[in-house]
Amino acid sequence: MRPVTCEECGTGVLVEKRSLPHTSVQWTGPTDRCPQLAGGGARIEGCTRLRASIEREVREGRLTVAHDD
């Protein structure tokens, strides 16, 4: 897994992409800095800002997609 920092709230998470549609995100601390997730827990599907940050990492080549063929 590779570290990715959220452009919005600055939280660092670990991300793995086995293919473009796949995403795995491991948080290593609380979500309380994220305006979309704080307090919502697993009942919120994800943070759109963090997702955008991950997509940007992929686009700009800093996050490699494992089986990109």
């Binding site: 086995r18 293919s19 473009l20 549609p21 796949h22 995403t23 795995s24 995100v25 491991q26 948080w27 290593t28 601390g29 979500t31 997730l37 827990g41 697993a42 009942r43 919120i44 599907e45 994800g46 494992a66 089986h67």
Partner: protein, 385 residues
């Protein structure tokens, strides 16, 4: 030809492991509250022992005590309810909901230490819950059962409710389903097109969308007729709330379902499920009840399919996964928090984790299978081979 090297051709060996001896810490649903409010004590075999559930006549509250009377071991569930006590059938000792002995009819006084275990209970969603913690601590702040609005609304049906006992399997088998996308196609004749899991704290959620299975009838799968979207969350180790929307004939049918269980022993558990359906405009109570019964039937069929698998499978601690499987190991890491002492819960068991499966290939392959089934059926209908 040279002999195959052992490293290149090493065979994967299943580690079956053994189920944990202890039971999961958390709230466990015992059934619909109403079913315990008939004036009689009820026996529940759970957590390696027996419990008695009874309703105090004065307060109307439900109480759960150890079933075995600490006097000489009589079974309180075979006794009677008197006022706010349950009376032991063996020697007539009276026990209150808080575990205190309220009286011994033939004795001058009650021994000061006459106290039995009273379990912490909760009534929510018209269901009864007990708190289980082998360390004896009360439920922590925030670890609770979420309210389901439909359970209290006239716009929704009443609960359907079913329960069945599974012997020979640990309840981890059913929890594994949370991440198991592919089994929904192969076991439940469903067609997942979107699948994501999120675990955080004591909650584990599955977000799923399914496409209709044109090659299946409504009797074969819940998702035969229309697209579905669902959010299913385990709140703790055993109580899953499923919100499922299904598109049928241009309208959306909203259902709320419960999939829950409590352990009986290390390798048996009682599985319970129920459904609520939101009434569509113009729907009578009878129609809503019928609709909920149909949803429950779908659930029942699904569990039958799971049970058939469980009865014939082995326990496996080291599943061999492919990239398009869900996060089984991370789910089990989350699940482990309920089986260790609170002091041993590690951050990685509760830190947020998200996993979205790449369904591209699955959708392509499964659509081809559905199409082939339909083509075969059409040929058969035309009388071709």
């Amino acid at each position: 030809m040279s002999a195959p090297s052992t490293t290149e051709h090493q065979v994967r060996t299943i580690e079956a492991g053994s189920p944990p001896e202890r039971f999961a810490r958390g709230w466990h649903c015992l059934g619909l509250a109403e079913s315990f409010k008939d004036g009689a004590p009820h026996e529940i075999e759970a957590f390696g022992t027996k419990l008695v559930v009874f309703q105090a006549q004065d307060t109307g509250r439900l109480h759960v005590l150890d079933a075995y009377c600490p006097h000489m071991g009589g079974n309180l569930a075979r006794g009677t309810v008197k006022g706010d006590t349950v009376v032991c059938p063996f020697h007539g000792w009276l026990w209150k909901g808080d575990g205190r002995c309220a009286g011994i009819p033939y004795a001058h006084r009650v021994p000061p230490r006459a106290r039995t275990r009273a379990w912490t209970t909760l009534e929510e969603n018209k269901q009864l819950f007990v708190w289980y913690d082998p360390e004896g601590a009360p439920p922590p702040e925030g670890v609770t059962i979420p309210r389901i609005e439909g359970a209290f609304s006239d716009e929704w049906s009443d609960w359907t409710w079913h329960s069945l006992r599974i012997d020979g399997s640990h309840c981890r088998e059913i929890v594994d389903n949370v991440v198991d996308m592919a089994h929904f196609f192969y076991v439940h004749n469903s067609f997942p097109t979107y699948f994501k899991n999120v675990f955080e704290g004591h909650i584990a959620t599955q977000y799923q969308a399914t496409a209709p299975r044109g090659d299946m009838t409504a009797a074969e799968t819940v998702s035969a007729q229309g697209d579905t979207r669902s959010v299913a969350s385990y709140h703790g180790p055993s109580y899953m709330v499923v919100y499922l929307d299904m598109d049928v004939d241009g309208t959306t049918v909203e259902t709320a379902m419960i999939n829950c269980h409590y352990p009986v022993s290390a390798d048996s558990f009682v599985l319970m499920y129920g459904a609520l359906v939101k009434k569509l405009p113009g729907m009578t109570d009878e129609m809503a009840a019928e609709s909920a019964a149909m949803a429950a039937q779908g659930l029942a069929a699904g569990f039958e399919q799971d049970i058939e698998i469980w009865k014939n499978k082995t326990r496996i601690d080291n599943p061999l996964l492919c990239d398009q499987d869900g996060p089984v190991y991370q789910l089990r890491r989350w699940y482990e928090q309920f089986y260790v002492d609170v002091a041993d819960v590690r951050p990685e068991m509760t830190d947020r984790f998200e996993f979205e499966i790449d369904t591209e290939r699955a959708v392509k392959v499964w659509q081809a299978e559905v199409d082939a089934n339909l083509a075969r059926r059409a040929r058969a209908a035309r009388g071709e081979a």
